[in-house]
Symmetry: C2
Subunit: 319 residues, 2 copies
DNA sequence: TTGTAAGCGTTATCAG
DNA sequence: CTGATAACGCTTACAA
C-alpha cells in the first residue's frame, strides 16, 4: 500500500509539497502539482484516512446507531440521513449492538444519531460530555451536547382517537408495543386521554410487541374471545398488519366488524386490503432534518433551535 | 478528552506502562496496574481508536456496503453478520453510497462485505489488490483477495418451475426485476430453461423492478389485459406482494384464477392471504456464514473453501 | 513555491 | 517490572 512518502519520492518533492498538492492547497506550482498527481495516479495512491483522522482530529464520519437493521422506518430515516450527509461530504456509518458504543467511545465518528433504546441515557450523556455531539431520536434527553428529536406521539394519537369517537366508535382496545418503549407509552397516553376526555370510561389493553408476528398472535386470541372490541388501535403499523391478517383468516370484516388503525405510515400499509389507516410523519424528511441539524452543530458548535417533525393522520380504509 | 498521557501522569507511571496495564499485558505489577486502572476510571479515559488503528494497522471494523437501507433481505443478512462480528470483537459498519468507497479506500475497515451493485467490479478489484479482503454477495467476481457468495438462483427457479409444470400449469409469465440485476437475470434464465426443457415454447415477460409498487402497477395492467397468464412467477417476493394486491383489488382469485410465486422468502410472505409460495435461503445464516469466512480470511490470510448458501422451495398457498 | 520538522495518541521495541 | 523512544501516515506551522 503506497503512502504519501512514496508519492513524494516518485515526484521528487518533499512530503509536505505532496500533501499540499493532493489537498488542493493553492500555493503549489502547477507543474509540480501535475507531477505529484501523476505520481499518485501511477502508484494508485489513496490517502490513509486513519492517519488523516488522527492528525486533523476529525473523521468525517457520522455514526447512526440503531437497535436492529430491520424495520421500514429505519430504512427511510437512514436514507434521509445518508442523502444529507453525502451532500456535505460526510460518511454515514450505521451500526448496532456493541459496535455502536465502541465506535462512539473510540471517537471514530464526529457525531452520532441514536435510534436505539439499548444505548442508555447515562452512556450517551457521558460520551456527549466529552465533546461529541449526539442526536437522540424518539427519546427525550437533556445534557451538554445532547439534542433530541421526538414525534408528538401523544398529541397525534389523541387527535386521531378524538376523530374516531366523533365518528361514532365506542368500544376501544389498545394493542401495545413493548412496555418499555418510549413511543409506545406516549401513544398509549394519548389514547387513554382521548377516551377519558370524551367520557369513555373503559377500554381493553392487549399486550404486544410492535411486530407482525405479535399482532398476528394477538389477533388469533381476539377472534377466539367472546366479544371482541369494535375498534383496535395498534401501537404501530406492523402489529396492525399482523392483526389484520389474523382477523381476515377468521373472516372478520374490516372495518365493518372490527376497525383498525396503526402508527408510522409504513409503505406497506397502502398495499393491504383494506388499506391501513394510520398516523405518520415523513421519515425521509425526518432523517434529513436531523442530519442537517447535527452537521450545523458540528460545524458551528452552536445549538440550533430544532423543529420536531410534524405528523399527520392518514385516513384510508381500515376504519 | 483525556489521553493515555493524562492517565500515566495521574498514576505516576510512564506512558508505556499505562499502555501495558490498559491492554492487560501480563508483565505489570498488580498494584501499579490497579493504580493505572483507577486513574483511567477517574479521568473517564477511553483509548482513542483512531490512534490505535494507525499504530496497529488494523481497525477492528468490517464494512458492509449496501445499495440502500431498505429491504427485508438486507436486514436479515445484516443481523447475521452483526452477530458473528460481535462474537469476534469486530465492529460492523454499514454504509451506502459514496461513503462506501470512501471508507474502503481510506482503509477505515479491515475487510468488506459488498451487497451493492453500484460498486463496480473494477473498484472492488482495485481495492482488494491493495490487500483488503472483499466478500461480494450476489455477484460473481474473481481476483486476488476477492471472494464471492451467490445463491443458485438459476437452479432453484428451474427446479421450482419444473414442479409447477408437473402440477399442470401451462401458461406462464415472468415478472422481472431490474434488467441489470445479476439475480434477476439468473432467475429468468432458470425460468426460461425449465419451460424449454418441458417443451413450453412461449411465455410472457413483464417488466418490473423488484418493488411492491412496481408489482402493483404490473398487476393493474395484467387485470386489464384480455387473457391474463395462468401463472406469474415473480423475480422477488416484494413485487409478488404488490402484484397480489392489485389482483385482489380486481377480485381475481389466487391461485384459482392466477397462481403466483416469488423469490426471497421474506417474512411478510407468511402474513399475506393467500400465503405466498416462494423460494428462499436462510438470510441470517447467510450473513453469519459470510462474516465467518471473511474473519477467517482476515485472520489466517488464507483462502477458505466457501460453501454457497443452500436454498429451498417454500410451498404455501399462492400456487 | 518548496522543504523541515513537530505532533496527533497510540503501540511496541529495547534498555535498564 | 518499568521507562525512553521510535514509529504509524498524515497535516501544518514555520523557515528557507
Amino acid at each position: 500500500m503506497p503512502t504519501i512518502k512514496d508519492v513524494a519520492k516518485l515526484a521528487g518533492v518533499s512530503i509536505s509539497t505532496a500533501s499540499y498538492a493532493l489537498n488542493n492547497v493553492p500555493n503549489v506550482h502547477p507543474e509540480t502539482k501535475e507531477r505529484i498527481l501523476n505520481a499518485a495516479k501511477a502508484l494508485n495512491y489513496y490517502p490513509n484516512g486513519v492517519a488523516r483522522n488522527l492528525k486533523t482530529k476529525r473523521t468525517g464520519n457520522i455514526g447512526v446507531f440503531v437497535y436492529g437493521f430491520s424495520g421500514p422506518i429505519f430504512s427511510d430515516v437512514l436514507e434521509g440521513i445518508r442523502k444529507k450527509l453525502q451532500e456535505n461530504d460526510y460518511n454515514i456509518i450505521v451500526s448496532s449492538g456493541k459496535s455502536s458504543s465502541n465506535l462512539l467511545r473510540e471517537r471514530q465518528v464526529d457525531g452520532a444519531i441514536i435510534f436505539d433504546a439499548e444505548l442508555s441515557d447515562a452512556t450517551l450523556i457521558n460520551i456527549a460530555k466529552h465533546g461529541l455531539p449526539v442526536f437522540v431520536l424518539d427519546r427525550k434527553l437533556q445534557g451538554q451536547n445532547i439534542f433530541s428529536s421526538v414525534i408528538d406521539n401523544e398529541g397525534l394519537v389523541f387527535k386521531f382517537i378524538e376523530k374516531m369517537i366523533q365518528k361514532g366508535y365506542k368500544d376501544y382496545a389498545y394493542l401495545s408495543g413493548p412496555e418499555d418503549a418510549f413511543n409506545n407509552n406516549h401513544r398509549y397516553d394519548g389514547f387513554k386521554q382521548a377516551l377519558e376526555t370524551y367520557g369513555i370510561r373503559t377500554h381493553r389493553y392487549i399486550k404486544s410487541d410492535f411486530t407482525i408476528q405479535g399482532g398476528y398472535l394477538a389477533g388469533k386470541a381476539i377472534v377466539e374471545s367472546k366479544n371482541p372490541p369494535r375498534f383496535i388501535y395498534c401501537a404501530n403499523d406492523e402489529s396492525a398488519i399482523g392483526l389484520m391478517q389474523a382477523l381476515k383468516e377468521h373472516h372478520v370484516q374490516i372495518p365493518n366488524d372490527i376497525a383498525i388503525a396503526g402508527f408510522d405510515n409504513i409503505y406497506l400499509g397502502e398495499y393491504m386490503s383494506p388499506k391501513l389507516t394510520t398516523i405518520g410523519i415523513n421519515h425521509v424528511l425526518w432523517g434529513t432534518t436531523v442530519a442537517d441539524a447535527l452537521l450545523k452543530i458540528i460545524q458551528n458548535k452552536e445549538t440550533e433551535n430544532f423543529e420536531h417533525p410534524e405528523g399527520s393522520i392518514i385516513m384510508r380504509e381500515s376504519c
